[in-house]
Amino acid sequence: MNLTIFLLALFDGISYAALVFIVALGLTLIFGVMRILNVAHGSLYAIGAYVTVSLSGYFLALGFAPVFAFPLMIVSAALVGVALGGPIEWLLLRRIYDKPEVLQLLVTFAVFMILEDVQRLVWGSQPYFEARVLQALGNVTVFGVTYTVYQLILLPLVATGLLLGLRFFLRRTVIGKLILATTEDREAAQSIGIDADRVFLFTFMVGAVLAGLGGALASPTTSILPGMGADMIVLSFAVVATAGLGQIGGAAVAALMIGLGRSFAVYVWPEVAVLVPYLIMVLVLLVRPEGLFGSPVARKI
């Protein structure tokens, strides 16, 4: 493998990892705070993409410039968080925090099944593709290979921005500190006057916004069709578990490992590219069951 190919694989891996990371970020945030593995996360991702395509299709048809799609992505992500994330937490999850974990997980699985059909009822079965914003940003050519600016530069920038932003938010702002306190010990937090219900609702909505944003950002690069969320959810599970559940920085590293592993596999041995994320996950979990960056939970007797 010469240097050129190495660099090409590196670029492909990074742009892929950026997208996976954005989706996994919401998943790991929700798990870290609420201890719920949200299977419906994949559906929220898909719906974020659908809403973006519908909105930008509508506004671009009115004659707006393609870059107008960027604010629309944020609007779509916010819509997913408020219109779906909020009700899911408020109407369903809130009722079962005292129930076994498996039931919580199954509730999100049920929501996933429902949302899969809702996507098809609303948007039909034909795939959508809306890439004008990506084309507007143009291409760059590296070693004779053309990349889109959107995938090679913008997505990694957004991913880095979200990582740093979320860390800053959790550590430096009051709401962030409330969230961390609730994560640490829900009862103690409540006893000092934190409204844990509101913290959970807020966290879930932020997680849902991130899922929707992942979908929104993915939408110019891929076909939007029913079922696109099912694959994404397993992949982001792999990222989150490899990193250690609830590990935000770790998720970035794990997403990079999986993204690079996959793109190098396409260059070296394409047949195993699909296997890579799961192989990495198993290998990491076998050596470090709590994930790369997770800390072993103290066992309560």
Binding site: F237, A241, E290
Partner: protein, 342 residues
């Protein structure tokens, strides 16, 4: 740590001198199933698929008794099915018994190997690691097309039965009654296993694992034995499913199927042996009729059904049944009601 599942104590309730309502109902249910080919022949295949799934769900149920949830048990379901299909491809006309034994053997061996790794983990990590193993196997099935047939899978030709070649109708009748017999035998065996010393210790992993260590017992070894049992049960289900369908595809191992098994286990009543089969029957009927009569929104209906069960009857169908029986027979089922009230 939160309690992961509840024990329906009813399964282990000691039968009194009189046969309990539960026993009578169980017997009636089995007889009703056995009569299906005569009273509702068009339901036979559907029920057969449900029974096969029920056996796999029983495997998941076993682990639920130890408080562990696996999101990858479709792995053993699929391994068993593929072993059968490969066997039939290399030995045309092989016997049904051989296909079943080889399939379950494959599930047991892989259960032992995977089990050696995963029994070190608990809770969400246990679930995720199982998921990872099943997804690896799924990717291999999808990828190595020239060996595995890829996403279209491979056909499992009809085996002979005790040396006789069979037509479809006869073969399906054989599989149907074989499934009922296996359901009764393995269901009974699982109940006995729960009551055995190993089974008792196994269930302690859920309530208080540390105490086991203080007693000088190895929770890992105990969990491993339960894990292998659960893999074997999934294997039986997978082989029966493959024999009934005549084709095996990677979809047998896809994570949604694993989740579906957990879903059915909870629907039936997490931890309940009878619930596994009742849950599978109800699930399959709802699913088929939803897809037949509600066209393209069957997933939505199924998801809503699941939500209603979890939110309003978290004890599952067996929980509802317990409440009903409990009202009629208060003294006999005090334990069950006490559990409900918890």
């Amino acid at each position: 740590m939160r309690d992961t599942t509840r024990h329906p104590t009813s399964d282990s309730a000691k039968p009194g001198a009189m046969p309990s309502i539960r026993a009578i109902l169980t017997l009636l249910g089995i007889l009703l199933l056995a009569a299906v080919p005569f009273i509702a022949p068009s339901m036979q295949l559907l029920i057969n698929l449900a029974l096969a799934k029920g056996l796999a769900v029983l495997g998941v149920t076993v682990l639920l008794r130890a408080g562990q949830v696996s999101f990858g048990h479709a792995l053993f379901f699929g391994i068993s099915a593929y072993v059968g299909a490969f066997l039939m491809a290399s030995l045309p006309g092989a016997d049904l018994i051989l296909v079943l034994v080889a399939g379950v053997g494959g599930a047991v061996v892989s259960g032992l190997l995977v089990g050696l790794f995963v029994v070190r983990y608990r809770g969400i990590f246990f679930g995720m690691l199982n998921l990872a193993f099943s997804m690896i196997f799924w990717s291999i099935l999808e990828k190595f097309y020239h060996v595995t047939g890829g996403a279209d899978g491979i056909r499992l030709a009809r085996p002979s039965v005790l040396g006789m070649a069979m037509e479809r109708a006869g073969f399906e009748a054989v599989i149907f009654y074989l499934s009922i017999v296996l359901m009764v035998v393995l269901g009974w065996f699982t109940l006995r296993w729960f009551a055995s010393p190993v089974g008792q210790i196994f269930q302690t992993i859920k309530t208080n694992e540390t105490r086991l260590e203080y007693l000088g017992l190895s929770p890992r070894r105990v969990l491993l034995s339960g894990y292998v049992l659960s893999a074997a049960l999934c294997g039986v289900g997978g082989s029966l499913m493959a024999l009934t369908q005549g084709v095996v595809t990677p979809e047998y191992v896809w994570w949604v199927r694993s989740a579906e098994m957990v879903f059915i286990a909870v629907l039936g009543g997490a931890g309940s042996v009878r619930g596994a089969f009742i849950g599978a029957l109800i699930y399959e009927v709802v699913r088929i009729y939803a897809s037949a009569f509600a066209g393209d929104i069957w997933q939505l209906l199924l998801g809503s059904f699941l939500l209603v069960i979890i939110l309003f009857a978290p004890g599952g169908i067996m929980g509802i049944a317990d409440t009903l029986i409990g009202h009629r027979k208060k003294s006999g089922q005090r334990a069950a009601t006490a559990e409900e009230a918890k």
